[in-house]
Each structure stands twice: as C-alpha cells, then as structure tokens.
C-alpha cells in the first residue's frame, strides 16, 4: 500500500502520524509547500518575538524519521490524476498513490478593496513567510492598520502593539471579536487595547488604500471618510481553500472539498481533511480530528467523525482568558439569558427549553469544558435542578468498565 498525504499542518501531520500508527509497513509520503512544520495558530507569536522557528513547531524534531514518513517539502501540487492514481507536482514530477489524503489547508484572502492587493506593505498572516515579512517591516514601522477585528486580527494587533507600533483596528460591526463575543466581553479587550494606545474603529469598512510612488499603502480611507496614515497594513478577513489542483476529478467542491463523515471525497481512494474541506469553521481541533479519521478509513478501519461542532474558540489577551461556545448572541427574544458579572468575571449562558445554545466565560474558565459538549451535542439540561453556572461533568458522571468517562444523560 502506498499512502500519499498533501499538506504538513494540523490535518496532514496528524493524518500521516495516524497512518503510521495503524500501518507499520506501508510507504507513507507527505508532500508540502511548507519546508517547515509549524503551528499556524502561533504565527502571531513569531511577530511578537515570543516564539522562533524552533518553538513554532508542534511536532518533535525526529517526527518524520521516527514515523518512517518520506517528506517532500517545498513542492506544490498542480494536478490530481484520479484515474491513474497519481499526483503531479508543479515541477513536472509525479507521485503514485493507493490512498490519497488532501490536507492542503486554505489561504488568506485580501478583500477587493482598492489598492490593497497592489500594496507592497499589505500582508495577511497565514504562512511563516507572512510572519517573517511582517516582522521585517515592523522593524522600520511606527504605525499599522489591522483590517478585521476577529481572532486573527486581534492576535496580530496585540503583537504589533507589543513591538511598539501604534495600531489602528478596523472592524465592520459594532465590537471586536463579533463571532465569539458580545459587546460586554468585547469591551474588556477593547479597553485593554486602547490602554496600550490602539485605536479601535468599529462599524467601519476600509474603502481604499492610497499608494505612494513605490506602491506602498501610506493611507487607508474608510467608507465614512476617515483617513488613517500608516506604514503597513495587515488584513485578517477570510480564507479560501487551497484546492485548485482537483480540477478534472470528480471531487465535489463548494468553497471547500465536500467529504462524508469518514472524510472521503466523491472520488474513490481520495480523502480530505482540515481547512481545505467545506461547510465548517476552520479550527485546529476539527482539522486534527479529520486527519485522524481519514487515516483510519484509509487503512480500512471504519471510523466516523462524531462531532464536527466547530463554533468554539478560546482566547487569552493580556492575561484575560475567554472561552466562547456556540452562538452567545441570540437572534431573537425567545431565548433566556443567564448572566454572572462581577466586573472582572463575566459569564453568559444562552438557553431555551433546557437546551444551551451559546456561552461566554471570561476571566474564569476553570472546568468549563463540559459546556462545549453540552452545547455541541445539544444535551438537554432541564431535569438538572441546579444553578446553571454550577453545572459540570459531575451532573453527567458515569465511568465505563475501562475507567474512561462518558456522559450519562439524565
């Protein structure tokens, strides 16, 4: 058997590792554009000089050797020939496979704002090369505009501020981190950012960049006419799947590769995992889980994704941790909202008829993991007569014969 894995991030690495765990003898080859394995979730820490090339890695140094995986780095795939079961690289070489795992991830997109795509000092943050380029320019910059006040935007803003820059954050809705937080919990971070000199421009959209003679954006103009002079621009506003090479195959695609709950595509012997897939938030744990699940099915062991619940995020800015699960901003008044707020610790649970739909835990996240399970699986809680903030795994406690926990639904 010859396994071929495309991509060296969360899904690809965990897929390859699991293939080796399950099949000690077959050949496993991993091909990637990346020539280093690193955690994309930590790239902002490179900009902040808190991590270097070595500490950005999420695998051991001898990972490929120890797992007997052949790693072909620095190579981009140009085409998958599914009939002949081979993958053609941009350099013209090809690799045959019996089972293929596509885990090529996604790329950050620059929105179609005038002059942003042209600007030499305009960046996204998706790859190590992006982080290195930003790091270089930070050395000679005093101000930066961050377009997009989501998780990645704020991650970047925090580190640019740490490096001494005056940072302007442009967010199109009324508070930062709108996908994860509500106004109350977003304010906590907005205050911390402003304390450190950041300007937060909410309810605003970037309309245009003004280029100098060297094609650097020196000013960003917002739709309300606000003009912000800047030395650099970082855009954190969405991604697109890296899957151009599937053209000509029967793999179904709708803003991402469509897979079943075994991570199989419509094409026989081709699997996909991670951010390259459609219909779900691109978050690390889902990518890992899909990589593992694909690997099981590739070696012929039936395994399904049990939960692809991905509306969960944790963040930790300025020593204040927050975990957000589900949708903490109810769409109408039919939901009940339970709030605990002592000025430092803020907890919000959105529920209806015993089902919890969303929650925010800020500055006290101890032991809150069960809420991810309760919200993700839609576990009913109406029979639990207890302060909702005190609900924990103890209320669902059950031990399997092998000592593992499971949920006893009451």
């Amino acid at each position: 058997m010859k396994y071929l894995v495309l991509g060296a991030s969360a899904a690809g690495i965990n897929g390859a590792k699991t293939l080796r765990k399950l099949d000690k003898n077959s050949s496993i080859t991993l091909i990637s554009v990346d020539d280093k394995v690193y955690s994309r979730c930590m790239l902002h820490l490179y900009i902040g000089k808190k991590r270097n090339l070595e500490t950005l890695s999420f695998i051991d140094k001898d990972f490929f050797n120890r797992n007997n995986i052949e790693w072909i780095k620095n190579k981009r795939v140009s085409k998958v020939e599914s009939k002949e079961k081979k993958v053609i690289l941009e350099d013209g070489t090809f690799h045959e496979y019996d089972k293929l795992l596509i885990a090529t991830g996604s790329s950050a997109a620059i929105p179609p704002v005038e002059n942003l795509r042209e600007g030499k000092n305009v960046f996204t943050l998706r790859n190590l090369e992006d982080a290195m380029a930003i790091d270089k320019l930070v050395n000679i910059s005093k101000t930066a505009v961050v377009i997009g006040g989501g998780l990645i935007g704020i991650d970047i803003a925090v580190e640019l501020i740490n490096r001494g820059l005056k940072v302007h954050i442009v967010e199109m809705v009324s508070n930062i981190l709108p996908m994860q937080l509500d106004e109350r919990s977003a304010k906590t971070y907005e205050r911390e950012l402003m304390k450190r000199g950041a300007t937060i421009l909410t309810d605003k959209l970037a309309q245009k960049g003004v280029l100098d003679s060297e094609n650097n954006v020196v000013e960003v103009i917002l739709t309300d006419g606000t003009r912000i002079g800047t030395d650099m621009v970082v855009v954190a506003a969405g991604v697109r799947a890296n899957a151009d090479f599937i053209e000509g195959t029967n793999i179904e695609f709708d803003r991402g590769i469509i897979v079943d709950n075994r991570c199989q595509t419509a094409e026989e012997d081709i699997y996909a995992a991670g951010d390259v897939c459609a219909n779900k938030p691109g978050i690390w744990p889902l990518a890992v889980n899909e990589g593992i699940t694909a690997a099981y099915n590739m070696v012929g062991i039936d395994k399904k994704i049990e939960s692809s619940f991905g509306f969960k995020n944790s963040m930790n800015f300025y020593g204040i941790p927050t975990i957000s699960i589900g949708n903490p901003n109810p769409k109408d008044h039919s939901y009940q909202i339970s709030i605990y707020d002592d000025g430092q610790i803020y907890k919000k649970i959105v529920h209806k008829d015993g089902i919890v739909y969303g929650a925010i835990f800020q500055n006290d996240i101890s032991y809150i993991g069960p809420f991810t399970k309760i919200i993700g699986d839609g576990i009913a809680m109406d029979s639990i007569d207890k302060n909702i903030f005190k609900i924990g795994y103890g209320d669902f406690f059950h031990v399997k014969p092998n000592g593992e926990f499971e949920y006893k639904i009451i």
């Binding site: 979730c41 690390w284 941790p321 032991y367 000592g403 949920y407």
Partner: protein, 149 residues
C-alpha cells in the same frame, strides 16, 4: 496502562485527594507537613464537584484513549504517550491558548490561578506505583487498576 478508578459512592468529600495532589506538586517539598494551604501557587490537578443531588463527585484525569485535550492542542504541549498511555503536558511548549480547557468534555482542566499561564494537568505523579490522590483517599473511592486500551 494504569488508570485511577473512581467509586463516587464511597467519596465523603474529605478532599484528601486534593491535598495529596497538592503535596505531590508542592515545590517546597512533597510531605504533607510541607504543604502550605495559603500558598496560591500550589494547586491541585483534581477536584471534587457536587452534583445536582449534592453528592460529591471526584474528578480525576482519565488519560483518555482519544484525549480531546491533546487533539485540540496546537503547540504540541499536550500529547498522548503511546508507550505509557499517559497524556503528558509540557508547560514549556504550551502557548496558554486554553483550547484544552475548552475541549475536555469532563471538565478536568483549568489554568493556574495566579498567572493563568499553565494548565493544571494530572501527571499520574510521574507514573509512580500509587498516585498521591489514591494514597490519600481513606475510603478507597479512588484506586488504580491496569486497563487495556
């Protein structure tokens, strides 16, 4: 692998397991006589919850076969050791993103309370024969068994 079993009906909520864990992880010495309960930097990796019927429930890490904390970890700090079966935590690799706290379905994990930089994670007392929580449990609500994974 060895797993700490829990017989919740035997638990009297004496918090012996909590003290045992704190004693084991006390940098000033592992004896119970070294334990300073006012030292906020010394925290237990286990805890006891009260369920909705006010029954005490000891919550101790399972070192799961498919550990959500390790699956979710984006820094490589939380890993399943396939040889020992333990889910190991390396605080030097940890980026304090707290995805593991969010992901443990059993609510075992929390950040340290002083700096909120390190995860309070059971290390099975470095795989010694009897973990301190078990050693300190007077009712045998906690005991160890060998299990096949």
């Amino acid at each position: 692998m060895k797993r700490i079993m829990i017989d919740k009906d035997k638990c009297m909520a004496c918090l012996g397991c909590v003290l045992g864990c704190m004693a084991e992880h006390n940098e000033k010495g592992k004896s119970i006589y070294d334990l300073d309960l006012e030292d906020r930097t010394n925290e237990s990796r286990n805890h006891i919850e009260l369920d909705h019927k006010q029954n005490p429930i000891p919550i101790v890490c399972r070192h799961c076969q498919e550990p959500e904390c390790a699956i979710t970890c984006m820094s490589g700090a939380m890993t399943k050791n396939d040889e020992t079966g333990l889910v190991e935590y390396d605080k030097d690799k940890c980026a304090a993103c707290f995805m593991c706290v969010m992901s443990c379905p059993y609510g075992v994990l929390k950040p340290d309370r002083v700096n909120k930089e390190v995860i309070m994670k059971c290390d099975m007392c470095d795989n010694k024969d009897t973990p301190r929580c078990v050693e300190f449990c007077p009712t045998k609500a906690l005991y160890t068994v060998e299990v096949m994974e």
